[in-house]
Symmetry: C2
Amino acid sequence: MAFRLDPRLQQDTIELGGSEHALLLLLNDSRYPWFVLVPRQEGASEWFDLPESLQIELHRQSVQLGAAIREHFHCDKINIAALGNIVRQMHLHVVGRRVGDPAWPGPVWGHSAAVPYDPTALEELKSILRKMTELPFTLQ
Amino acid sequence: MAFRLDPRLQQDTIELGGSEHALLLLLNDSRYPWFVLVPRQEGASEWFDLPESLQIELHRQSVQLGAAIREHFHCDKINIAALGNIVRQMHLHVVGRRVGDPAWPGPVWGHSAAVPYDPTALEELKSILRKMTELPFTLQ
């Protein structure tokens, strides 16, 4: 079956680009540099629903993204998590955290309502992202 | 420098065993089958602080553990996360979640005070764990 992005993920995020096997999304909450990777694999909900080669690729991409976020967004800690209690389509959060951010030191999920990006802030984020030349993603 | 388990992790968990490169801990909260893997790598705080071979090994172990938890503890969703906002020593949570558990569908971290295992419940958990013959860990 063809891959389709979950409607809730589509609603909460902005598509930035991706790789052959994964979508790169930005969670539309300007308070955190919060990215979401979605493997293009219909019906997957857990890590173990993915072929091992895709698991390893997705893991590597998330770690490369995490390292780039820490550097380019000046973060103190990177949170990488596959939760999916609400949206069951397999997706991986890669979130840059800063001491004193709204949810710090707790988790970002379910903390408080998102503050969407305004057009200027979104352009700034995209311009930082374009400087992350080490990322294995094509940007839109 | 020799590897030493972070004192806060030591306080909050029960050591169950491990593999050559990682400790297998049980979070002392009887409300969830909540495990923690700690790579035996002093000074690591992020995934990208680990050698890639150890990353892949730890990833595989977490996914095997997650699949076994879902089956043997009859869970609806597995949450796998490296957060570390409070305890900086690199550690990976592998948590079995059930619809209607105390934190459902939110995250378990920071939700409410742990309910420690009593000796009987801990023995039951260990006996389930001994049946997970597919796990790449030696149990104590």
